[in-house]
């Protein structure tokens, strides 16, 4: 697809630019960059991307088109053109901006051109136009994927004129998205340290991944919500929002209504993106390029000069001293605690599964088919707290797998070169860190909520639940293959887990939760089960701690 768009863009270029551009070189530069685009690994789809020759860009575009399909359904769901158009344009604006920030940042922030292309006999105008062509092709691909369904639906529902106009408004929205991205980058670049810039981009990437994970679950369900939007009124402030300009432009085309407010909106829709675009090329882009160049020269040297005695111990270092039995164990604990908080690869994989907790609650509320108020009133009489007790476990067990991966997996040589007698000690340290860092806070929040609703009745259940959760967590860790923390290469073909093992896991979990459910009314049984469960945890803990080298996989 990108080849066709490239041809189209190059054709337009030939018409517009005559002098000083070498089209053969322009073409080869743009083509090469598009090939690299196709191969760039999209962080959002890390897990699914396993074969090297697959086309991650295409997968991303298909997912975008799929999400666009849902946004496009708004055209049929609501009878109001304005509302559906606002949703469609807001969606495109949001997605374009986020894509530009998270994905295209690697292209925009890349200064390799200066080293690779500038020393070759290519004049600067050709290079400039080539970059422009590349960005245009990139943008048009995503625009096409995002807007193909909404625009087609607009054609079907409101006829030719609105359809044609919507193509223009979509393109104007994309121009605005580019401007917003540039503004954001200009702001980020104030942190002159390259590492900071990459960190911030990383946070956006994590946010996007969570958005996708949650969005794919929630958006389709929101379509039923459309009827609620029919009695929707535009507030005064909404006239400042770009999607509203676009929507009202479409409306005035549909109704041939050019009163003052509609004319004003058309003017905004047409002129503001063009004006900001001009502003960007004229002022923002040059200063952006200068800052970018400065960025690569600045190694970020700041002298701290703090003598070591003043160094404060981090939380993990304080905790490990009384939670871990051996040195190896506390090494595992501290390192897992620190790296899980910093490594982007881990965060991108794991944070969405944390966000799934919210999705489960959301689905649970929606599935009930009742409105939130009745649900709330019936809650204290129900046994829903059991759901809250075991909810975090679903998300947090995934960390056991994710923590074995790291971009720097080669660094795991230290485990072998150092005198580690029982690698199980490192693993148990890591598991403790994961449980303490991710499970406990989630459990405490859910407990606080449950305590507010059900009162002291649920104390025993949460106590038993705590040990059951810990037992499940340790059980899953001890049944699977054992890997030392951060020792596996990500993106390699993952071995499919042994089927029998997974079934066994599920059976044990079902048995524990089922038993808890059956005994809910029987307080003394719950209390007497707590020591049983705690003993189970202790035994599992000991089994894992005693793992030998032969039991570790690499």
């Amino acid at each position: 697809m990108d080849k066709w768009i490239l041809k189209l863009v190059l054709f337009c270029c030939r018409l517009l630019v005559r002098q000083g551009v070498d089209f053969e070189r322009l073409k080869i530069i743009a083509e090469t960059k598009l090939i690299m685009d196709r191969r760039r690994v999209y962080l959002n789809w890390r897990q699914r991307q396993q074969r090297e020759n697959s086309n991650p860009l295409m997968v991303t575009l298909i997912v975008y088109a799929f999400l666009g399909l849902y946004a496009g359904f708004m055209v049929f769901v609501t009878r109001s053109l304005v509302i559906s158009a606002i949703i469609i344009h807001a969606y495109i604006l949001f997605m374009m901006t986020m894509t530009m920030i998270t994905d295209f940042s690697s292209v925009l922030l890349d200064t390799a051109d200066n080293q690779i292309i500038l020393p070759k006999p290519v004049n600067s105008k050709t290079l400039f136009v080539a970059r422009l062509v590349h960005i245009l092709v990139y943008l048009l691909q995503f625009t096409l994927a995002l807007s193909i369904f909404p625009v087609v639906f607009l054609f079907i529902a409101y006829g030719f004129l609105v359809g044609i106009t919507s193509i223009a408004t979509v393109l104007l929205t994309v121009a605005f998205a580019v401007f917003i991205t540039y503004l954001l980058y200009a702001a980020i670049l104030r942190f002159s340290n390259e590492q900071k810039v990459r960190d911030i981009v990383g946070y956006f990437q994590i946010f996007m991944t969570i958005f996708f994970a949650v969005g794919l679950q929630v958006l389709p369900r929101l379509v039923n919500f459309g009827n609620l939007l029919d009695n929707f009124q535009l507030q005064a402030y909404s006239y400042f929002l770009p999607p509203v300009w676009m929507a009202l432009t479409l409306e005035s085309v549909q109704q041939f209504n050019f009163d003052s407010i509609h004319s004003l909106m058309i003017a905004c829709a047409l002129l503001l993106p063009l004006f900001t675009f001009w502003l960007m090329i004229k002022y923002l882009a040059p200063s952006f390029a200068r800052k970018l160049a400065a960025l690569n020269n600045d190694a970020g040297t700041k002298k701290s000069g703090i003598p070591y005695t003043q160094r404060r111990k981090s939380i993990s270092e304080k905790l490990s001293s009384f939670l871990c039995r051996s040195k190896s164990e506390s090494a595992g604990f501290e390192t897992v605690w620190k790296i899980t908080g910093r490594d982007k690869g881990f965060k991108i994989q794991f944070y969405p599964s944390l966000a799934y907790m919210l999705v489960f609650i959301f689905i649970f509320v929606f599935k009930s088919g009742r409105d939130v108020n009745t649900l709330w009133e019936n809650l204290p009489g129900s046994r829903m707290f059991l759901f809250f007790i075991y909810l975090p476990m679903l998300s947090i067990t995934s960390a056991i797998t994710f923590v074995s991966y790291n971009e720097n997996f080669q660094a795991s040589w230290v485990y072998q070169s150092t005198p580690v007698g029982r690698p199980g000690q490192i693993i148990i340290g890591g598991l403790k860190a994961l449980f303490l860092k991710f499970f406990i806070p989630a459990y405490l929040i859910l407990f606080a909520f449950a305590f507010y609703v059900w009162g002291t009745d649920i104390l025993d259940d949460f106590a038993l639940g705590f040990f059951n959760n810990l037992a499940i967590f340790l059980l899953i860790a001890s049944l699977g293959d054992h890997y030392l923390p951060f020792s596996r290469q990500p993106n390699v073909k993952q071995q499919s887990g042994r089927f029998a093992q997974v079934i066994l896991q599920l059976l044990v979990i079902a048995a524990l939760v089922g038993l808890h459910y059956l005994l809910l009314t029987n307080d003394w049984m719950i209390y007497s089960l707590i020591p049983v469960s705690a003993t189970g945890c202790f035994l599992l803990l000991r089994t894992i701690r005693n793992l030998r080298w032969v039991e570790i996989s690499f």
């Binding site: 340290n193 390259e194 590492q195 190694a299 970020g300 040297t301 700041k302 002298k303 701290s304 000069g305 703090i306 003598p307 070591y308 160094r311 270092e317 001293s321 040195k327 190896s328 506390s330 090494a331 501290e334 390192t335 620190k338 790296i339 910093r342 490594d343 790291n406 720097n408 997996f409 080669q410 660094a411 040589w413 230290v414 485990y415 072998q416 070169s417 150092t418 005198p419 580690v420 007698g421 490192i426 951060f486």
Partner: protein, 257 residues
């Protein structure tokens, strides 16, 4: 009394022997250069001696302990700095050294004190609290050197330790190695950089295709080969000098075409 004894050491990878029967013994307080082209079996030998690979034929004794039977005890007394070593660079050097130090079973306070001192000596004190993903290759290499020496090992295995270091650091590391030797440590040094090996080694062992092809002091080797620098000895011994000239000639021809 030799600290390292290897007897007819063999190692096969998928029916292909990378070590074809190496027999060596090394005394304490020596710097031994272990040289060979890529794929000669240098790293494999070191991995066996450091207890990382336990599946091999023959016998390997380090400090009177069998590497198959007592790998943990041996690892406690040796230091290993591998080739192109990676480290967890989202950590700061202090945190990384704390991690490795704990794996060496050192006391927290001792790790902390030693780390700061050693980083300061390597001119890294002002960056000791920033994460290493902004570090250059040479700076990471310095941290790795420290991490392999922090427990004051008796024998030090180094696999291309100078790659990526700047000129000053190379001189410093050479000096450190010489002084370690003076304090009685044994250094087993694998490299293909002839220049460095020639100057600091007491003994040079050249291996190729899994076999020892020369063993002795630089002087002995030089006399044997009756040629100038060690590099010439090396190419003469591995028999590839003419081939290089040939390839270079063809390269120029293609450029001209």
């Amino acid at each position: 009394m030799p600290v390292i004894r290897i007897t007819s050491l063999k190692k096969e990878y998928s029916r292909n022997y990378v070590l074809k029967g190496i027999t060596l013994s090394m005394d304490a307080g020596q710097i031994v250069g272990y040289i060979g082209p890529n794929g000669a079996g240098k790293s494999t030998t070191i991995k066996i001696l450091t207890g990382i690979i336990s599946d091999f034929e023959g016998e390997a004794i380090v400090m009177d302990m069998d590497v198959r039977k007592n790998p943990v005890e041996i690892k406690q007394k040796i230091g290993y700095i591998p080739e192109q070593a990676a480290l967890y660079d989202v950590l700061t050097p202090i945190e990384y050294l704390r991690f490795v130090g704990k794996l060496y079973q050192l006391e927290d306070s001792l790790i902390e004190k030693k780390s700061w001192e050693l980083l300061r000596l390597f001119d890294l004190a002002d960056k000791a609290k920033s994460r290493m993903n902004g570090y250059s290759k040479g700076m990471k290499q310095k941290v790795l050197l420290i991490s392999g020496l922090i427990h004051n090992p008796e024998i030090i295995f180094l696999d291309e330790p100078l790659s990526g270091l700047d000129a000053n650091a190379v001189i410093l590391v050479k000096e450190i190695l010489s002084q370690l030797k003076l304090s009685g440590k044994t250094i087993f040094y694998s490299s293909h950089i002839m220049d460095v090996v020639e100057k600091i080694s007491d003994r040079i062992i050249i291996i190729d295709k899994g076999e020892v092809i020369a063993d002795g002091s630089f002087e002995t080797l030089k006399n044997n080969a009756s040629q100038g620098s060690l590099e010439n000895i090396f190419t003469a011994l591995t028999g590839s000098s003419e081939q290089h000239q040939n390839t270079a000639g063809q390269f120029i021809d293609v450029l001209k075409s």
